[in-house]
């Protein structure tokens, strides 16, 4: 849905609708673009800096296209000792991008994160909302293949 169409639904609304508007834009478009910030600011007659300030305050808004699979590699103490480094290295080898970057096809992004709270099954990674525990670097290729398959099927 176009940003304009979303905004139309909120015609006549005030600044207290800012969060719902941004949420809906993100849901529809996947992320909050620069263009979205400008359009929302014109729509609510608020300075663009204010919209951007509010949006960046909340963790759940993204400002760039999001990957279909966001891989978080736990770097809590247990996972670190259990070899999260190796997993990271393997990911870099497989996906051919650095941590934090989007792959060329826009499907994957991986990064190191603080403790995910699953210490007794270290090392763990989390892909979107799903945990993978006790994995080794060797499991990575297969996990990635599975993700790609799912995309193809969908």
């Amino acid at each position: 849905m176009e940003i304009e169409t979303i905004l139309e639904k909120y015609t006549g609304s005030q600044r207290d609708n800012l969060i719902p508007i941004l949420e809906e834009i993100q849901e529809e478009r996947g992320f909050i673009s620069e263009e979205a910030i400008v359009k929302v600011s014109r729509f609510l007659k608020l300075p663009a800096s204010k919209i951007y300030g509010v949006a960046t305050f909340y963790d759940f808004f993204h400002f760039e296209r999001q990957p279909a699979y966001h891989i978080r590699v736990c770097n809590g103490i247990n996972c670190h000792l259990a070899g999260s480094d190796n997993i990271l290295r393997k990911l870099e080898e497989e996906l051919k991008v650095k941590a934090g970057q989007l792959t060329r096809d826009g499907i994957f992004k991986y990064e190191l994160t603080g403790c995910l709270g699953a210490c007794n099954s270290a090392p763990v990674i989390k892909i979107n909302d799903e945990f993978y525990s006790g994995i080794t670097a060797d499991d990575i290729s297969q996990i990635i293949e599975e993700c790609k398959m799912k995309i193809k099927e969908a």
Binding site: I37, V38, S41, P47, A48, S49, K50, I51, Y52, G53
Partner: protein, 574 residues
């Protein structure tokens, strides 16, 4: 209503409804503050101002806590002092240690606080966020690494200037002050007024300096250096050298500038007179044709950028006259160059302004013709003080000198440009003469001299009953523009200055902006006007000469090419 409270075992008088801080400072007790700004609602963000109040569990922020009758306060107990010191040390934990190399070295609130609270070592080592310095603006450099997140720039940008360029983005330890979509300042809606510089306690904002280039030009034998200083400078600079605020030191300034090596020293007030001649002519033409009224002043470059961005549909109201800085620049590179037998490119033309927006204005493309810029370098009052110190000039052992002719002659009307309302007063004097062929008898217009963000009054000149509005503190222009659009006003002329109080309180002035000093500067301008024998721009003999020998009459073709310009809409993130 007053009541007694106990502070540090003594009884003092507090007023109902005021904050602890207000009660303390009225009684001469100083408590350090950082995020607090006079006349703004307190945010209580920095906790520098905490005091101990008997019976309260936590220390109370004096800047935002109301004073109450039962209070027994300790402002400097060991607990309070320790808390303040720890707060400050935490702020310093992610502030760079490079004071020696900082523009604000010696005039920094953080530095002063650290000395006051006797901070001797770095007790906390914080994780430092890496931020890039943003040098993109022609006027202002932003160095987020220095920021301690007090919020003062964000507030002045929103509440006084009304553009909200700056805002806090992200949160927690990734919070920073930035613009919409974190764009560099030159792509933002920043109008370059520099008020963020004036309030920042930590040097995260400062002017883009033109000093190195200027010094080189001063020592280039092929260049003829010409300097002119704005009406507000000579009544401000004294403060930078420990003299009384508001003292007019134009004579000493002329002497100092000659010692530094400028070939000619002119007074921008001359160009203010010239500006009035053109403005009056343009105004009368519009009045007679009943077109494009009210006419908007165009001297303040921040205001010009504002209207280009926010109300391009109203640009036809804006006067076509260049600002005094640019008029002077244009005359220096044409008339003056000719009369001195110099090529324009052999002249290095410098202006000193109480303003950072003038740096932006000087580099606008409208201000360059055939690769010749009207003005080559713009210094703020602060940079001028630096230059004078750099050249080892001792102000106190100089004899006053006069500026150079012909552009050193001014009327006191030109001088009035320094304060909000001054332009309007000057304009009325010349309009009166142009419309009625008689000189005005009552020079002073009290309504124009009020200290207010929006002033409006009627003034009768000949058969015309004219409506004037004067804005200072740009946020106030928003409602006025709305009123004009909705046809709620009956105005003929609108003067707008972005900074509150006008140029005497500009973004290039000494830091911090001291309200008492600003008042003293205005007072001196009015005294000069009181005493001066030439009180109207059209009486400035050198301006009249310039017309006779070079420009012909106001609004002539030559004036149009040299002294007028055209402004166009500007597309930025608002």
């Amino acid at each position: 209503m007053f009541f007694d409270i106990e502070v540090n075992n003594k009884i003092i008088k507090a007023r109902q409804g005021e904050t602890i801080l207000q009660a303390l400072s009225r009684n001469g007790i100083k408590v350090p503050t950082l995020c607090y700004m006079e006349d703004f609602t307190p945010t209580g963000a920095c906790r520098m101002c905490v005091v101990e109040v008997e019976g309260m569990n936590d220390l109370a922020p004096a800047c935002s806590h109301p004073v109450e009758e039962w209070m027994k306060i300790k402002t400097h107990s060991p607990m309070v002092v320790k808390a303040r010191k720890t707060n400050l040390e935490l702020l310093l934990a992610n502030h760079p240690d490079d004071c020696l190399y900082c523009v604000r070295n010696g005039n920094c609130e953080l530095q002063k606080l650290a000395a006051e609270l006797d901070v001797k070592e770095r007790r906390f080592v914080g994780k430092r966020n890496k931020y890039k310095t943003d040098p993109s603006s022609p006027s202002i450099v932003h160095e987020p690494e220095k920021c301690i997140l007090c919020g003062r720039c964000v507030r002045i940008c929103e509440e006084v200037i009304g553009v909200s360029t700056l805002e806090f983005v992200r949160r927690g330890d990734s919070t920073s002050v930035s613009t919409a979509n974190e764009k560099p300042l030159n792509l933002s809606n920043c109008i370059t007024c520099g008020q963020c510089i004036m309030v920042c306690p930590a040097s995260a904002f400062y002017e883009k300096t033109h000093l190195p280039e200027l010094q080189e030009s001063l020592h280039n034998p092929k260049l003829h250096t010409v300097l002119h200083y704005s009406p507000a400078i000579s009544v401000t600079l004294a403060e930078e050298f420990g003299l009384k605020a508001g003292k007019d030191i134009s004579g000493l300034l002329n002497a100092a500038l000659r010692k530094i090596g400028f070939n000619r020293v002119f007074d921008t007030s001359f160009a203010a007179d010239l500006n009035i001649m053109e403005l009056a002519d343009e105004f009368i033409k519009r009045l007679e044709a009943d077109q494009n009224l009210p006419m908007f002043s165009s001297c303040c470059s921040s205001w010009v950028k504002f209207i280009e961005q926010y109300s391009p549909e109203m640009l036809h109201h804006l006067s076509a006259c260049k600002s005094p800085q640019q008029m002077m620049g244009a005359i220096v590179k044409s008339y003056y160059a000719e009369s001195e037998n110099l090529k324009p490119e052999e002249i290095y033309s410098v202006s000193v302004m109480p303003c950072t927006a003038k740096k932006f204005e000087a580099q606008r493309e409208e201000m360059t013709h055939k690769c010749i810029t009207d003005v080559d370098a713009v210094l703020t009052t602060r940079e001028l003080a630096k230059l004078i110190r750099l050249y080892g000039i001792d102000f106190h052992h100089n004899e006053p000198e006069l500026p150079d002719m012909p552009m050193g002659t001014r009327s006191s009307a030109g001088k009035l440009y320094g304060a909000s309302g001054g332009l309007t007063e000057a304009l009325i004097r010349t309009l009166h003469y142009r419309i009625t062929s008689k000189e005005i008898t009552q020079f002073k217009i009290t309504e124009a001299r009020q200290v207010k963000g929006r002033k409006e009054f009627k003034f009768k000149i000949g058969q015309y009953e004219l409506g004037f509005a004067i804005i200072s503190g740009l946020v106030n222009v928003k409602d006025l523009l709305k009123d004009i659009k909705e046809g709620k006003t009956n105005l003929h002329f609108v003067e707008v200055m972005a900074c509150p109080g006008g140029c005497i309180n500009g973004g290039g002035q000494p830091i911090p902006a001291d309200p008492t000093a600003v008042k003293a500067r205005a007072k001196t301008l009015y005294e000069i006007d009181e005493k001066d024998s030439i009180k109207a721009s059209h009486k400035n003999p050198m301006v009249l000469d310039l017309y006779q020998m070079f420009l012909k009459e106001p609004g002539s073709d030559k004036c149009k090419t040299l002294l007028h310009t055209k402004y166009t809409p500007r597309d930025v993130l608002l």
